[in-house]
């Protein structure tokens, strides 16, 4: 069931635009009202652009990096247009709109290198000279960005980028300490968490074109979106750099039109970034750093962030004995197995004892 606009609505909107007016009373270059709502956890942001609402949540996890880029972390996007966003719902992540949104956000944030991925590296030893070229010694952070479009009242692309930018600035990852071959990851209750290092923050500005390209409006509402002929999405940052351009719909645009849109976008992004700064400044003063409870991690077998996570490089193999809790009980143990090496019980038992002893001294040191 698609969004249907009647002919008289369509002609009314276009007639109004040709006189420089929009049906909700805005000027051609005006954005709708922008609001940010921050959750109790780091990285939880809901952005409102008029009535369009998008939720972004960022979480982090320690993983083994890929063998080609063993010193770089990951930035993973999971973007979903919720069925509550629109009655013309189609669940599944392969709908046209969802794919388009995912690609724009990925280009804007990942391919323009917003997050310093080298800074997400934890353990970057040299590659051992083994035939299989595995890098099991290495550990990096994987930052996962989940975006949910909750309410679709036009221009969810801009709203999604607002939410992701604010969430990236709001997010804090757990602090780590490296001593020799050991890495200790502290729970957010033990040590204050650390912000991500961001190079820049892009935001998207959408210009929609009507009636063979001679009329245009910034930040289309739902009715305007159903009438528009084409759309130009510009991902820009405050340094006046263009991070992404997407031109849909097929309406032909001249070079001057695109330049004019870029100029407008540069002005708009300054306004929006200062709004985001204001919101974040208020929130950062009031968020207590130790009062939040972490939610369940989903993709890994570790259900909750343990009090101490100790990695040990033992005989060249890594044992992730990750869940040593305060009563020195091992809750789970993972030994990565790969071709050629086999772990026997005695060496595993020895590693467990070593870790248990070490975590005891570590705890003594920390407290």
């Amino acid at each position: 069931m698609k969004n249907i606009t009647s002919n008289c609505e369509r002609s009314f909107i276009i007639e109004a635009l040709s006189r420089g007016k929009r049906i909700d009373g805005r000027e051609i270059y005006d954005h709708r009202k922008v609001n940010f709502f921050f959750g109790r956890e780091y990285g939880h942001v809901e952005a409102h652009l008029g009535d369009t609402k998008v939720l972004a949540q960022i979480s982090s996890e320690v993983v083994v990096p890929s063998s080609e880029r063993s010193t770089e972390g990951f930035l993973i996007f999971n973007i979903d247009i919720s069925p509550m966003a629109s009655p013309a719902y189609e669940t599944g992540r392969l709908t046209k709109e969802c794919i388009e949104l995912t690609r724009i956000v990925e280009r804007c944030f990942r391919e323009s290198r917003v997050v310093e991925t080298e800074g997400l590296c934890i353990v970057a030893g040299e590659k051992e000279n083994n035939l299989l070229n595995l890098c099991y010694n290495f550990k990096v952070w994987s930052i996962r960005v989940d975006v949910h479009v909750l309410d679709h009242c036009g221009n969810y692309i801009d709203c999604a980028c607002l939410a992701v930018s604010a969430a990236l600035r709001h997010f804090r990852r757990p602090d780590i300490a490296i001593s020799g071959d050991e890495v200790v990851i502290y729970d957010i209750l033990d040590r204050p968490p650390v912000p991500l290092s961001l190079h820049h923050l892009p935001l998207c500005i959408t210009c929609s074109f009507f009636d063979s390209g001679n009329l245009f409006a910034v930040d289309p509402s739902l009715e305007e979106e159903s009438v528009m002929r084409g759309r130009l999405v510009l991902g820009v940052n405050v340094l006046k750099e263009i991070c992404a351009i997407q031109h849909n719909g097929g309406v032909p645009l001249s070079k001057d039109q695109i330049n004019r849109c870029a100029e407008i976008a540069f002005v708009k992004v300054q306004e929006l970034t200062s709004l985001m700064d204001k919101g974040l400044a208020v929130i950062m003063l009031s968020v207590p750093n130790a009062a939040v409870k972490s939610t369940e991690a989903r993709s890994n077998s570790w259900v909750r962030l343990p009090p101490r996570r100790v990695f040990s490089v033992f005989d060249g193999r890594v044992f992730n004995l990750a869940l040593i809790n305060s009563s020195k009980v091992v809750e789970a143990c993972q030994v990565p197995c790969w071709l050629g090496t086999r772990t026997d019980d005695t060496s595993l038992g020895k590693a467990l004892e070593d870790i248990r002893a070490q975590s005891f001294t570590e705890k003594g040191k920390a407290s």
Partner: protein
Amino acid sequence: MDEVKLRCELGVLTRPDGSVLFSEGETTVVAGIYGPVESKINKTLVEKACVEAYFRPKSGLPGVKDRLNESMIRNVCEAVIAVALFPRTAVVVVVQEMQNNGQLISCALNATCLALLNSGIDMKCMYAAVTCFLDRSDSIVLIPPADEREIKGSFMFVFDSVEKTILASHTEGSFSIDQYKDALSLCREESTNIFNFFKKALTIK
């Protein structure tokens, strides 16, 4: 016994017919209802409306646990909505998790009840979901203990508003039959508070 703090905001979303932002303690969800709308051809039922439930976790792809929540929401909604009045249509119930402090499924069910009331669709009765936890000292409490490992078991019951019969029940952990009965009576008493909260929320709006 401390009371669980309930807060809600009705009509937070503009597109859905009924929507609510509901929180029970620290657990928060957003629920949206579309109904009755056109249903997919393969899901059309000739004699009644088909209820579809979607539960989206905050991070990660929906997994088995979310499918379980979806099936519970769907079963309760099918029992409560007057589906025979709307043949060949669909009622779509969508829940988005915002924050989870242990009572997620009961929070989601209460939110869907409020959203259904907000949407104006015909219902046979209201329903309330209550969760209680069995902690280490074998006492049954409504507020989850701060440390997740203290919880030995949890009980979730859904009661209807007319006769307080059980619409759904979900338990985790191990417990004795007497503990189950105690939890049931505690939850039944607590459901009165939730129904009063619903009535207050609707009249204020």
